[in-house]
């Protein structure tokens, strides 16, 4: 997918300036990937709550699901195309287009009077933000020669990861100070500034374009399959069903689109992904494990802030700081996982250990109740809850390097760029599908548990207090179920990794 083309003119431009500006754009878009999770619900400040602004009651949380899935779907639809588009039309032109799309999505989101416009805005934000990733990676590859580009590519990927990790905190802080719409308003001048600063570079670069192979049909089929799967799993009425009302026709249609996608990719001269690779158990095992880990991360990203807001009555900043304890564990775990895999010369052991650790973390989190944020760890200033969150993040981080490396080893040198994109795609698919499933089943279980729990009408404070206790317990039961289910999924991921990942190849000097 990423095909660097040598351009003497492009290399003659101010490389650090180009990379800084495009990297800043990438970082800005990455910040917004999960930015909404800390500003969905807020009891203390209605300005910091998207649900309150859009008149969505908290007892119908299912209506907020498309705010999260919309972004992921836009991202997944645009990302596979952007590499090829930047080959054809030039990196900076596609970068500018993506930034504009992202800014337009931000504008629609900030001004949304209704859920429909907000989801459209998030979809465009996702499409712009998702397409930035391969465009900036390919630009970085163009600017530096083959032997020298890996630190630059690493830095670009790190910007993307750090941005998405900091997003919920960024969102919480901005919403706490100015209101949630400012998270998106801020993007407009910043995107404008980046594009303005980039304009002279674009003129100098005078990018050449070249014919590129774009598998529009393949992208279309895969996107249609994902869109129907998302619709099928979207429980719009969780009181009646844990999945969508059209599940019985949408799910088979999604399968048909996926089958057509595989059929197309087997015949396409330049496929998006070489589907024959799935016969390799190390490839398919690492792809699936990556998706399961993505689902686990998404569950934590969404439900920890919502729990913090709705049950622990924290504000947006407090919820973001609680989530940060988990998020800091991820990069530390990622470094540790890479180092451990190298030392132990085993992907499977390290990946499985990371996923088991994350599963244990989710199990510990699934035991939380109203008093869980109180106790401290052995008299230290660190709370038990903080350690549990960090442990979960650490586990989710540890699996990243061995699982990614196993997949990249399986695809070989020639398809490494496509493999790297496929890793991101699989992670996002895991996030999308995992979150849709968990959201639907969680709410369905909540409604079943409270089907007989009718609140007392009247001014009897004792009866009402008793009801509130039972109501909160039902919310906790829903979370316990979701976190336990996630722990089970992560154990399955660990088993899959242990069974399929090949050992590290011997280092070869070329």
């Amino acid at each position: 997918m990423i095909r660097p083309f040598p351009s003497a003119r492009l290399r003659s431009v101010n490389r650090p300036a180009l990379l800084t500006l495009t990297g800043a754009g990438l970082f800005l878009a990455a910040l917004d990937a999960y930015v909404v999770v800390t500003v969905l619900v807020n009891a203390s400040d209605p300005r910091a709550s998207i649900l309150t602004s859009l008149n969505i009651p908290v007892n119908h949380f299912e209506r907020a699901t498309p705010i999260i899935t919309g972004f992921l779907l836009g991202y997944l639809a645009a990302m596979p195309l952007a590499g090829g588009l930047s080959d054809r039309f030039g990196r900076l032109r596609i970068f500018s287009l993506c930034m504009t799309l992202f800014a337009l999505g931000s504008l629609l989101t900030a001004t949304a009077p209704s859920l429909g416009q907000l989801v459209t805005g998030r979809l465009l934000q996702g499409a712009g933000g998702g397409a930035l990733v391969p465009a900036v990676l390919a630009l970085a590859a163009d600017l530096y020669p083959a032997g020298n580009r890996s630190p630059v590519l690493g830095a670009v990927s790190a910007l993307q990861e750090i941005g998405s990790v900091l997003g919920p905190l960024w969102g919480g802080l901005i919403a706490g100070m100015l209101g949630w719409t400012w998270i998106f308003w801020i993007n407009l001048p910043l995107a404008g500034l980046i594009l303005w600063a980039l304009w002279p570079q674009m003129r100098i670069a005078g990018e050449p374009t070249q014919p590129a192979h774009l598998d529009w049909l393949g992208v279309g089929l895969a996107t249609a399959g994902l869109a129907f799967l998302t619709l099928a799993l979207y429980a719009a009425n969780p009181e009646q069903s844990p999945v969508g009302e059209g599940f019985l026709w949408q799910a088979p249609l999604a399968v048909v689109f996926f089958a057509l996608f595989v059929w197309r990719e087997r015949r396409a001269p330049h496929p998006l992904i070489n589907v024959r690779r799935f016969r390799d158990s190390s490839f398919s095992g690492s792809a699936l494990t990556n998706a399961i880990a993505g689902a686990g991360l998404m569950v934590a990203l969404v439900y920890i802030p919502v729990l913090a807001n709705a049950v622990f009555s924290m504000n947006a900043t407090g919820a973001a700081l609680l989530l940060l304890r988990l998020m800091v564990g991820i990069p530390i775990g990622a470094l540790l996982g890479g180092w451990l895999a190298q030392q132990l010369r085993s992907y499977r052991v390290v990946a499985a250990a990371g996923l088991i650790l994350a599963a244990v973390g989710f199990l510990l989190l699934s035991g939380w109740n109203e008093g869980s944020l109180g106790p401290h760890l052995l008299g230290s200033p660190i709370r038990v809850a903080d350690a549990q969150l960090f442990l979960t993040g650490l586990g989710l981080g540890i699996e990243i390097a061995p699982v990614s490396a196993a997949l990249l080893d399986a695809v070989g040198e020639a398809e490494r760029g496509a493999g790297a994109s496929f890793l991101i795609v699989m992670r996002l698919i895991g996030m999308l599908v995992g979150f849709s499933l968990v959201a639907g089943f969680g709410l369905w279980a909540f409604h079943r548990a409270t089907a007989q729990l009718i609140p007392p009408v009247g001014l009897n404070p004792t009866a009402y207090a008793l009801y509130i206790v039972q109501f909160k317990q039902a919310i906790f039961d829903e979370y316990h179920l979701i976190f336990r289910a996630t722990a089970i999924a992560l154990v399955i991921g660990a088993l899959l990794a242990a069974a399929t990942l090949r050992p590290l190849p011997r280092p070869r000097w070329r």
Binding site: N55, P57, V58, N59, A451, L453, I454, P455, V457, A474
Partner: protein, 231 residues
Amino acid sequence: MHAGAFRLRALTAGLAVIMGCSACGASPPDAGTLLKQSSQRMLNLKGFHFQMMISGFSGSSVPVQNAAGDARPPDLRAKVNLKEGGLLLEVEVVFAAGGVYLKSFTGGWQQLSDQELAQFFDARSLFDSTAGLFAAMRDTATPARGSVERISGHDTYPIAGSVPAARMHRLLDPIRDQGTYQVTYWIESDNADLWRARLSGKLFDASRAATIDFNFSNHDQAVSVSPPPLG
């Protein structure tokens, strides 16, 4: 310019004006007549859809933020958003066959007794044939018609006036009964359909302003509401 040519031009212009005016149709009825027609029309509908939004200060006695539903007074069904401790929570209400039913944040439907209902406010009065909004249209003092405004895709005349607070207190119990309030109705001239009504003033607190907006649609589409299954 020749006098003949000028006369011809004046005649043409005059004709154009006359033809233009006849194309405009009859001049709209005066504000008071339109209000009475609309009141009559709305009271006789087989059903309609409504939305109600409260903005500004609503006080702790009125946790209702907004409501939407279908009505054929005195029966109606609606989804109501309540503000509880900074969070919005949705409940459903049904008024049917003389009974009042509530589906709260959790659990199924329950029937409310008169004492239980008295702890909230009785929303049936909103569209009551004597105490409700449509009847109050006739009690609007000094109505004045504005120029045409398009509401929900329909050409309407805004008619502004004032109503005694005591009259509005009958409409909705938590509304204060002191002084007068401003009210505007947006009425379609062709069929006297009421599309929007806005009540503003210090409705719930003597020192703070508030607004209640009503939007109507699906005029005269039959609505039938039956008691929901309990439990």
